[in-house]
Amino acid sequence: MSAVLFDVPGPQAQRRARIGAAVAAVLATVLVGLVLWKLAAEGEFESELWEDLRQPNIARAIGQGLTSTLSAAASAIVLSVAFGAVLAVARLSDHRVFRIPAVIVIEFFRAVPLLLLIMFVFFGFSNLFSDYWSLVLALMLYNGSVLAEVFRAGVNAVPRGQSEAAYAIGMRKSQVMGSVLLPQAVTIMLPAIISQCVVVLKDTALGVIIAYGDLVFQANLIAESVNHTIVPLALAALIFIVINYSLSRLATWLERRFAERGRGGAGGTGTADLQLDPVRGGAGD
């Protein structure tokens, strides 16, 4: 527990904490129970609803939606990493011709809501891109720009001595970047990249604005067909929570592993210098 706030509690404090815990647990249970009871009273959990939801075509629709969500997210994350790497290299370049356009691109796409980008690609290039590619490209533009900054932070977090040593033994600039800085930076950045996967996965849900048939779109269709909104959408939310929670745990685990290896390795890789919050730098998108 966070030692900042309290000392190791004594017997009396422990008793008080236990009583408080019981009271809070009871209150929370009562509150959740009241909400569920009210929803049940309004007929949100009627037995017909569950019969409707057990139909095979509902399961198929959810499966289709999940597949669409995952495939869009997978393409988007691969393209984002590539786009982000290109932007980051341009951003770190010594030449202004590359650096300035990269800064403009990164700052612009990070400041514009993703929903606008999706609509723009879809409406602006409607004869060029399908709904799938509109979504994937918009996700790439936004997340690529976010990842570019992550990559930049990662490369800058590699201790200066590494690049100095590489220059000292006569490596060229591209060699220093390619065989010394990037391999070390990737290890540091992997947790942040995985956290960004969570963001991408959540953001594919914005595809509903262009009627892309993802999980949320299918859940909405089901909600309309069974005339109940809460259960089908809560189900979709549950699927997202399970996937995203697992990804977040993976990111945290990797980060801890790298941190341990960084401490154990000779001289350290500087992992500790980089404050890459596993709790997504993007914060809320």
């Binding site: 929370a28 009210k38 929803l39 606008l116 723009f120 409406f123 959540k202 914005l206 929570i241 914060a283």
Partner: protein
């Protein structure tokens, strides 16, 4: 370009709604997030569990789902008409959805802010006899809130952009206006996009400027 000028009244209305949602849900999310953060660092086990589950549920759910559920949930539990200051009920539902979503991120930012306060500070507070609430309110939170401004800045910026998602549930804010205009004036999509995007860029720049100013104002030598 003409499309933007001709429809400036509608665009302005859209951005006014965007700013209103940003303001109200920003305040609500900050309050709720801080309460949740105090749950997550409290010595009471079940409060910690509540805070942790809240964060894990709301941070991992797409905002669209939360907004759609919010629009369905509040009327079902009996909140049918809560228009505030002339803004319609479904704007309020969207604001509530945005608030509960953003609160999860605020909670994490505040929690890491609290953990960034040096242990000695709290130990000193306790050793002069302050209670848990006193040391939190008088010693730790004032310091934590300063440490928390940079992450909060990016949360508020994300919130400003996230208000656009309310377009999906039919709130006529700026992104909704963009969709309507893009459908109506198909030849002008580029100008419409650039115009509305510029509006968001300005909001983001002003917001980060203001918060940087606050950061510098509040900075104390530590």
């Amino acid at each position: 370009m003409d499309t933007l000028v001709e429809n400036r009244a509608e665009i302005w209305e859209g951005f006014r709604l965007t700013l209103w949602m940003l303001l109200v849900s920003g305040i609500l999310a900050t309050v709720l997030g801080t309460v949740l953060a105090s749950f997550r660092v409290s010595p009471v086990g079940s409060l910690r569990a509540i805070g942790t589950s809240y964060v894990n549920v709301f941070r991992n759910t797409p905002l669209v789902i939360i907004l759609v559920l919010s629009a369905a949930f509040w009327p079902t539990v009996g909140l049918n008409s809560i228009g505030v200051l002339g803004y319609s009920t479904f704007v309020t539902f969207a604001v509530l959805g945005l608030s509960v979503y953003t609160a999860a991120f605020v909670c994490e930012a505040v929690r890491s802010g609290i953990n960034s306060v040096a242990t000695g500070q709290a130990e000193a507070a306790r050793s002069v006899g302050m209670t848990f609430t006193q040391s939190l309110r008088l010693v730790i939170l004032p310091q934590a809130l300063r440490a928390v401004i940079p992450p909060l800045t990016s949360i508020y910026i994300a919130l400003a952009k996230n208000t656009s998602v309310a377009a999906i549930v039919g709130v006529p804010e700026a992104a909704y206006v963009m969709r309507r205009l893009s459908n109506k004036f198909t030849s002008d999509v580029y100008a419409i996009f650039l115009g509305i995007a510029l509006g968001y860029v300005i909001i983001v720049l002003v917001l980060s400027g203001l918060l940087q100013l606050a950061e510098r104002r509040l900075a104390v030598a530590r």
